[in-house]
């Protein structure tokens, strides 16, 4: 209803502001579009009003050299009819000339060739983290296989300090399904090799591109022990120049209950903020430098301090983004 309404509102506005040719085209286009819903009496009313008497054919011919003027008369005077379309046949004319089995194979091959399914590896972060006292590393990467709508994704992220057991090693496998032009559903599992004890979670999530080009995702994770967590992520790519990109990023974890085994308290458990400046001249390998700040929150932070660990840390990072 709304577009018709807007057309009704806009048509007079356009008429009053645009050159004659363009507006006549526009008006006739609107009429054309609604053709099916109009009855014929409407045409009867419309045609005489717009079919202006023309003095002779010759002056009109002269106009035709100009882009628009003649068009307006033309689009009115040669309005197509509304004959019904023919039925859609199910046979194939080429089968009468060439061996039908060969044609069938050929049709199948053509359709198959246009069905896209492929593999990609995207390493968003692979970095060295220099922090006061102890340096470490961090990564965030995914590999996928599939088409536009459905993909199988293997994703991993983690971090750790050199000379210690890694703090976090996560590996997730999920089915990614396109929900709309921008957002995808994620369904799968995540296994955490660190921290100890290892846990396996069922994962349901959503990821996509929000207005203003924010890349966002949200996941809910339920472990085999029954504890429930959530994770949210957001990132934004700002081009400074054609080759320099700064990418701020945030990741936050939330626990719906205390999980003493993992030293996690209910509420917000962890926040990561980062900003990376990337030299993006080569898509397949782009180096970056940046800063990474991480902090345990709430009850989780208290538990960390009680265990003698730092609740927060900041590091300078250097790394690469890669795409294959």
């Amino acid at each position: 209803m709304a577009p018709t309404l807007s057309r009704l509102i806009l048509a007079p506005l356009l008429v009053s502001t645009m050159p004659f040719a363009a507006c006549a085209q526009e008006a006739s286009a609107a009429a054309t579009h609604d053709h099916s819903s109009m009855d014929h009496s409407m045409h009867g009313m419309e045609m005489p009003a717009q079919e202006m008497p023309q003095p002779t054919a010759t002056p009109v011919m002269d106009h035709s050299a100009h882009a628009g003027h003649a068009t307006s008369e033309a689009t009115v005077s040669d309005q197509p009819g509304d004959a019904p379309p023919p039925p859609v046949p199910t046979d194939h004319p080429a089968d009468r000339i060439f061996a039908p089995d060969r044609m069938a194979a050929s049709r199948k091959a053509m359709i198959g060739e246009m069905r896209f399914s492929t593999f990609a590896l995207q390493v968003d972060q692979l970095e060295y983290r220099a922090a006061k006292g102890r340096d470490g590393s961090g990564w965030d990467a995914q590999a996928w296989y599939g088409g536009d709508i459905d993909r199988v994704v293997l994703a991993s992220e983690g971090e750790g300090s050199f000379g210690e057991r890694a703090e976090r090693i996560e590996l997730a496998g999920y089915w990614r399904h396109a929900l709309d032009p921008w957002f995808n559903l994620q369904l799968g599992v995540r296994h955490d090799f660190r921290p100890d004890p290892q846990r396996t979670y069922a994962l349901i999530g959503i990821e996509g591109l929000a207005p203003y080009w924010f890349e966002v995702s949200g996941q809910v994770l339920v472990s085999d022990k029954g504890d429930t967590h959530a994770r949210g992520k957001a990132a934004y790519q700002q081009r400074i120049t054609r080759t320099l990109v700064v990418e701020p990023e945030a990741e936050v974890d939330f626990a719906f209950q205390d999980v003493p085994d993992l030293s996690v308290g209910s509420g917000f458990e962890r926040l990561e903020l980062g900003a990376r400046l990337r030299y993006d001249r080569n898509r397949s390998l782009a180096p970056y430098v940046g800063v990474h700040w991480e902090r345990k929150l709430g009850q989780t932070a208290r538990l960390a301090r009680a265990a003698g660990d730092d609740a927060s840390g900041v590091s300078a990072v250097v790394g690469v983004r890669a795409m294959f």
Binding site: S64, G68, P93, D148
Partner: protein
């Protein structure tokens, strides 16, 4: 020059090495170009009307083409190529209206191949589209195409298999009129424009699926904003809110492409000769896989005399955007000037190619700088309401009418009510809310240049349109996409979903309204037919086989469905077609599907002579 300057490349010597096939031994490096495409050619008008060895011009009633593997290099880039008779571009076929030609195509590749005669009206089973009109040519097989030539003009041929067209399999066709040619000139040159990448098109597609802006290195940036270039902050925010990129002009760009004239890059400077005082006919064919070109010869007006092979009433202009798969014939009069630069600039200005028109070899005119790349506007989104009080106070108000009754921008960008025939899904990111007829618009990026630019509306057919009937019905075909996911379709359905064919009755007259719901121009090509653009009053509307539908706009054409059989109908951007922007059009006699089962005697006789 933005990214890669072929003129600056070291050792700009071009080499084409035929790797296989009988031709490899007999051809030296110099002999690997067909003569007409060789730099310094005197022109095709002087070629023998009969096939001569090494001329690269094939004529006569029986022609043999051999498709094989080659290796091609230009401007520092090199890769595997698929060629015809060992050359890139393929040999020029120069034929005469009224003759019947037999063309035997031998496939020496390890994969299937095919040749489609682009723009020629041939029986459908000779049209050469595997899976639609014939089974394809298997490795080792020879398929003999045989068809009468019912019209004259400039056309071309290319593979319709896999993505062989992008790796070299294309060549020109010139059909001379049966009688004297009213457009006869003192000299003729054929210019085949193309794009060449060492990255195989399948790999290009994969990268675009991974990141839709993979090859676009010309996006707007903060530095540009601070310098007051491109869009204002308000516009950038408005476009960002819609997740639309105003620099999404071309998907595959000069980042990976070298642009070629007759297989020659800028450094190799293909040169066509002329003598002072001559009128020179240029037959220009855009045989690119993904590049629309802005074509001009600075300082030399172009008289357009034919479009897509069909003569038009001469119209003089300075620049023509030649979409992929279109052909234009120009007459130019170089006069006493010694040399002119022929410039074909990629639509997105990520690169260009220069060739030369000169009185003798070795001359070169100044090459103009590549102009600044365009930035799309609301008109390219089908949201143009120029004249209304928009964009004031940094606020883009285009959505007002819809906004007041609905939730906001996103609803308006994707309101299914504006296109009820489109299947909505992840593959359709936008629908043009108010597509306007853009036949009279200057094409993308040439809106503001200070010289004449050809618009479709300026074209009038030289000869009266053969079928004066008003269409008895019309259909809408939406060109749809989700550019972010790199999905392309028609009416929201990709070819890989095996949609129904679009049916026509044999002989019926139908108006087809193409609505572009994307922000990229699409050169839409219908096989086996010419259609008349609905532009200007009826009678002498321009007849074409390919029409470039500008972003956010629409184009109507009238079609007399006189080609019985199945035909491909698709976007001629190779990756768009491959991703799904394609349909089969089927033209049947009334009541034919039923009739078929009772008996089909009538057809077998004259259609049988296909396979060789």
């Amino acid at each position: 020059m933005s990214k890669f300057d072929p003129a600056a490349a070291p050792i700009p010597r071009r080499r084409l090495l035929a790797m296989g096939g009988a031709l490899a031994g007999s051809l030296g490096v110099a002999g690997l170009f067909p003569a007409w495409a060789r730099s310094g050619t005197a022109g095709i008008a002087h070629a023998s009307p009969h096939a001569t060895a090494g001329s690269g011009v094939l004529s006569g009633a029986a022609i043999a083409l051999r498709i094989g593997e080659s290796h091609f290099a230009t401007g520092g880039r090199s890769s595997h190529a698929v060629t015809v008779n060992g050359t890139l571009p393929a040999p020029l076929l120069r034929l005469r209206e009224g003759q019947t030609v037999r063309i035997a195509v031998t496939n020496t590749l390890a994969e299937q191949t095919s040749i489609h005669w682009h723009g020629l009206l041939v029986p459908f089973h000779m049209d050469g589209v595997p899976g639609v009109s014939f089974p394809g040519i298997d490795p080792g097989e020879t398929f003999t195409y045989e068809f009468p030539l019912t019209h004259s003009g400039t056309f071309w041929y290319h593979s319709h298999s896999g993505m062989q067209e992008a790796v070299g399999l294309y060549g020109p066709i010139v059909i001379d009129p049966a009688g004297p040619d009213p457009l006869a000139c003192e000299r003729e040159h054929v210019l085949v424009l193309s794009d060449w990448s060492p990255i195989h098109p399948h790999e290009q597609m994969r990268r675009l699926k991974m990141m839709s802006g993979y090859f676009n290195r010309q996006k707007q940036d903060l530095a540009g904003l601070l310098a007051g270039k491109d869009q204002s902050l308000a516009d950038r925010l408005a476009w960002g809110q819609m997740r639309m990129d105003a620099t999404d002009i071309s998907d595959v760009t000069g980042t990976t492409y070298s642009f070629l004239v007759n297989g020659h890059g800028t450094a190799e400077n293909w040169t066509g000769l002329f003598a002072p005082g001559e009128r020179v006919r240029l037959r220009v064919i855009n045989a690119s896989s993904m590049t629309n070109f802005n074509f001009r010869i600075p300082g030399l007006p172009l008289k357009v005399v034919a479009a897509d092979g069909n003569p038009v009433q001469p119209v003089e202009t300075d620049e023509v955007q030649i979409a992929i798969a279109e052909t234009y014939d120009f007459i130019v009069e170089p006069g006493e000037v010694e040399s002119y630069a022929i410039v074909a600039e990629a639509l997105d200005r990520s690169g260009q190619v220069r060739a030369t028109l000169a009185r003798r070899m070795g001359l070169a005119a100044a090459v103009p700088e590549i102009r600044r790349r365009p930035v799309l506007t609301m008109r390219d989104m089908g949201m143009d309401m120029s004249g209304m009080d928009m964009g004031q106070d940094g606020e883009i108000d285009l959505s007002k009418p819809a906004n007041e009754s609905m939730a906001g921008h996103s609803m308006k960008m994707r309101d299914p009510a504006v296109a009820p025939t489109v299947k909505m899904g992840p593959g359709v990111a936008t629908l043009s809310p108010m597509p306007v007829d853009r036949l009279a618009d200057r094409p993308t990026g040439l809106e503001d240049v200070d010289h004449r630019v050809l618009t479709y509306a300026e074209l009038r057919a030289r000869d009266p349109n053969p079928d004066p009937r008003v269409p008895s019905r019309q259909i809408d075909v939406h060109l749809t996409a989700n550019m972010e996911r790199y999905m392309w379709s028609m009416d929201g359905t990709a070819m890989s979903e095996n949609p129904d064919p679009i049916p026509f009755r044999l002989g019926e007259r139908v108006r087809v309204n193409l609505v572009n719901d994307t922000m990229m121009p699409h050169p839409i090509h219908l096989h086996g037919h010419f259609f008349e653009l609905v532009s200007g009053e009826p009678g002498n509307r321009p007849r074409k086989h390919t029409v470039n539908v500008l972003p956010g706009g629409k184009v109507s054409f009238d079609l007399t469905a006189d080609g019985e059989g199945d035909w491909a109908f698709h976007c001629h951007m190779l990756l768009h077609m491959h991703a799904g922007m394609m349909r089969v059009v089927t033209v049947r006699r009334d009541g034919e599907p039923e009739e078929r089962h009772s008996g089909h005697e009538g057809h077998q006789g004259h259609m049988g002579a296909g396979e060789g």
